[in-house]
Symmetry: C2
Subunit: 360 residues, 2 copies
């Protein structure tokens, strides 16, 4: 078992599990700090492959490929939370995995995540476990419809979820999510959603970016705006919530926390143990962005200055939005980030733009 040294020397190779756009931008950030990246992804020609030092194309259960990958890197991180547990255990026995295996375990299971947050004294939507139609019928006595039934594991961007209106058939609802182990969540009456992107260094130092305000469409993030509409106490609450989560997990790296803003205070929606789409604005608004902050943390470097010096609006380019590219390229104050995806599909994140305005 090779524990990475406290401060990764320049030239070291950082392993990244998953080769999508987040890995692509992590890889670029790593290069700014003099590191190389080795990306592991089952899909050929992943977006990160254009800007990384090395790519391994292999399945998550290909132990000899995993062994070679682990042997070629100084530390391992990931760009998404749904890495198969066996893969993770295999790698964690060989290299330092950062943020940490525990963070992945918590965020891979919606029930565990909610329980973890509640045990930390944080407020979440009301929730109950559901293991079949009879469970669901009973849960609907406590959490009144309208409510939402979600699979415990996997699922993102609105997949693996079904909304329940009053009188809906529990059997049909469970069937709609494949009768998978699930969680029933009550709705939260919120005015808007914000997210905090926060980081914790190997030395335990914590830093948070200014919270951003999120706008979703069809379950997919459409836009993040900074500054968010938050009072000063709300803003500091948001940061304290993120810090509490980071410390509880003994976390190393960047974490995204989605929060609902309600008259009664902030409600934690979910956490992502990785760089997060709602933190892409930091590329345009800060000396050190979320990608570099993550690399700094997992490499044992001091966290960088994430203070925001301009207002930013981040807009995702989703599916056919990419047709607007020529127009977007000519806009004032706009930086474009494309992910190198050849095929345009509805709902697929093709890129994003950051629009800056002088800070108010």
């Amino acid at each position: 078992m090779t524990e990475a040294r406290v401060m990764l020397p320049p030239g070291s190779v950082i392993g990244i599990l998953g080769g999508g756009q987040l890995a692509r931008m992590l890889s670029v950030a790593a290069s700014r700090l003099g590191y190389r990246t080795h990306v592991f992804d089952p899909a050929p020609a992943p977006p990160a492959g254009d800007v990384c030092f090395r790519v391994t194309t292999a399945e998550w259960d290909d132990l000899s490929a995993l062994e070679r990958f682990a042997g070629s890197v100084a530390v391992i991180t990931f760009e998404f939370e749904n890495i198969p547990p066996d893969t993770l255990a295999f790698l964690a026995a060989r290299d330092a995995v950062r943020p940490c295996v525990r963070a992945l375990q918590v965020s891979q299971d919606r029930l565990d995540e909610k329980a973890f947050l509640r045990d930390l004294g944080l407020v979440t939507a009301p929730f109950l476990p559901v293991n079949g139609p009879s469970d669901l019928a009973e849960a609907l006595n406590g959490i009144k419809a309208p409510a939402i039934l979600k699979t415990r594991r996997l699922g993102y961007d609105g997949k693996g979820q079904v909304r329940l209106a009053e009188g809906d058939d529990p059997r049909a609802a469970c069937a709609a999510i494949g009768n998978a182990p699930a969680i029933l969540e009550g709705f939260v009456d919120f005015s808007h959603e914000v997210s905090v992107i926060a980081a914790r260094g190997l030395d335990g130092a914590v830093a948070a970016f200014d919270p951003g305000q999120n706008l979703h469409e069809g379950g997919i993030l459409r836009q993040t705006t900074v500054p968010a509409q938050l009072s000063a106490p709300q803003r500091s609450d948001a940061v304290l919530i993120a810090a509490r989560i980071l410390n509880a997990l003994d976390y190393v790296g960047v974490l995204g926390v989605e929060l609902f803003v309600t008259p009664q205070g902030l409600v934690v929606n979910e956490i992502a143990p990785r760089v997060h789409n709602s933190g892409h604005w930091t590329q345009a608004g800060c000396a050190v962005d979320q990608f570099e902050q993550h690399i700094r943390a997992i490499a044992g470097l001091p966290l960088g200055d994430g203070n925001r010096h301009v207002d930013v609006e981040m807009e995702n380019l989703i599916g056919g939005d990419i047709a607007r590219l020529p127009e977007v390229l000519g806009e004032r104050g706009t930086s474009v980030h494309l992910y190198g995806k050849a095929e345009v599909r509805p709902g697929r994140k093709m890129g994003h733009v950051n629009r800056i305005r002088p800070a108010r």
Copy 2:
């Protein structure tokens, strides 16, 4: 001969001659626009190799490697001006080479460059060609010592140059530069040096970044600060000079122009037909930096918004400066860019930092 299409489609491969730090940062910028890069460099493991799609390690006269390289890319650009003319001619017969072969020719020869600038009506230091000691003796009648004798070709960062004081032996001076064809330049009495980084699109549109003020040490750029100390007329003169050069060359891409500021006006020191060290500050100060501006131009995209929204000081990390890295990483408002060079050598550019301050 394959002429690149007017607007390079995303996913296209851009060829870059030279794989140093400029190619490294060009490659990252290309990825933001959805392009891949193929780097050609005789040296193994070039800095750009960490973040490019493909690397060819071959000599400049390896025609079969050049042929394969040319066949794999949609357009060719370069990160340095001293590409052997035969290499360039071979490639230009196969692909679009941008900025343009003419710009390289002009900047490869100090005498041609000065003559080109003078013919454009621009002011340069006084200069005369020198082809040996007797030429030099005669030239020193017109351009009085102190003066500087420079080889016409090659040489950078203070190499291939010798200073002449009054009474110095012409024979010794010529010997000091290997008796190469040379140019004698008079000194210019200037208060400070600025540079303009300007771009010209495939459509002929011209845009310039705010001029930066340069500080050299031992012939190597140490620091660039924006805004530069310039009056409004000087600032507009600087931009007009760059535009005149770009248009005269029918240039496509980013060009650096170094200017001496004198009480009588701006004097052109030299031009660089590529992204330039004195433009690195744009990474921190603009929505679109010089690297992306160059990629946009050569890819036929509209030029981006290079307006400066913060004040920036760029400092090069040269040789042993890299030992200050731990301290620099912790500085407020600072972004670090390392070039992934394993070996530290005196005078070697290892990286740079951009320090931002709110715009005045």
